[in-house]
Symmetry: C2
Subunit: 249 residues, 2 copies
């Protein structure tokens, strides 16, 4: 843990997300996990399985954020081009990684180990392996870019191994207060509470439940004293205006 | 419908997605809807509720794609800054839109219409309204950028009105064949099928079900003849190798 703000971006690589065939589940997972170790996810991009698109997104994000996580496109088929694209982004050779190859050879019986599967051991020169406890084929890290698979269960298992080694920052805390009131009716005092507590961010999320409008207010940041004070001001406002508080946690 | 390829990007604006608090549902919806009218979603970005981040994403995407859709950040609270940021991106004044104001005044009883709610009528100069049949506050279009809300039910209702007016292209068709076989075992012949049918894209999506590995192959594009031919080649391959075909649609 360091005192400064540690930032991250996620790059989701896959035509299946852009076609609407698959609902991405990795962004929300990574966002929550990163928040726990004090890493602020600042941006996410979804790009197609196309070299130019991957190279551009990786280069834009790795220059700007402390950590970059890519998901998807590291399997054995023709549409898995992430690893080669990342080698291009870093202008490095794309070569068979000896230890990755050793793991694949140890896992697959010889008659099942074909050239397509061995392709999963091809990585940018200098890549450091990220262990895959589920299906062996490793991900990798190169500088500040972490290359992970798209299948959520495998990504989650791999991230669990990675997490303790990531540089984080002060943990991000949040507190949510849900009121039975449209956000437009409390927008002004809410903005005033935000102005009095600039060290945290207050998000306002309207919803409709059983025909009634409500709003969830999320107080978020590293300054727990400010979170508590801002939430208390909102509760005072709710009491004064006789607004029902639905949920408080 | 035009002969050329019509492209789009989606920009999801909201700290709640980047914090992992909310699972985005709008991207998959827009991706599917756009596919139906032959618009290819090429990229999506998730950015924070920060002016610089919104301006940069909007300017990058509007220069590159035919249509750009933003979601989120157009409500009445302090964290709703999308509309002002888009005015900045277009270097236009941010002014009260008379017709938007008229609609809000007609909807809210006078004692409920406060300055925060009227802020929802502030738009970049020259904006054209997008009707909101659910909660009145309109979205807007400016050049090729369509500004929509983040609440999925409202976004969906507004997009339904917009859809018939959007320029589309040849409808994108897809056919999925699911086989009970790990993708690594058919990667080579699958790549050959892809090479023989470059007009379509073949996506390979592995999964594990009841302890067995399977793969969904998605044949996608505007050329139905090629889709059918490529899918037939895969079925022939499955027959020859005695691979079980789970699902075919």
């Amino acid at each position: 843990m360091s005192g400064r703000t540690v930032t991250a971006a996620v790059i989701i690589i896959g035509n299946e997300i852009l076609s609407g065939r698959t609902q991405d589940a990795n962004l929300a997972f990574l966002a929550q996990e990163l928040g726990e170790i004090g890493v602020r996810l600042r941006e996410a991009r979804v790009v197609a399985d196309e070299e130019d698109a991957i190279v551009e997104a990786v280069n834009a994000c790795r220059a700007r954020y402390d950590h970059v996580f890519t998901t998807g496109g590291i399997g054995p088929t023709h549409d898995d081009i992430t690893s080669a694209a990342i080698a291009t982004a870093f202008q490095r050779a794309h070569r068979r990684h000896p230890e990755a190859e050793r793991r694949l050879r140890a896992y697959y019986p010889p008659e099942k180990l074909n050239e397509a599967r061995l392709k999963m051991a091809d990585m940018p020169e200098g890549a450091e392996l990220i262990d895959n406890p589920v299906s062996v084929a490793p991900g990798f890290r190169i500088e500040n870019v972490y290359v992970l698979p798209g299948v959520p269960s495998i990504l989650q298992a791999m991230f669990a191994g990675l997490k303790p080694r990531l540089e984080g920052g002060a943990p991000v805390r949040s507190r949510t207060v849900t009121v039975l009131c449209p956000e437009g009716e409390i927008a002004k005092p809410l903005g005033e509470i935000q102005s009095r507590h600039p060290s945290i961010e207050i998000g306002s999320y309207p919803f409709m439940q059983q025909g009634r409008f409500g709003t969830s207010l999320v107080f978020r940041g590293t300054d727990e004293t400010a979170i508590r004070a801002a939430a208390e001001e909102l509760l005072t406002l709710a009491r004064e205006r006789r607004i029902e508080v639905l949920q408080l946690f």
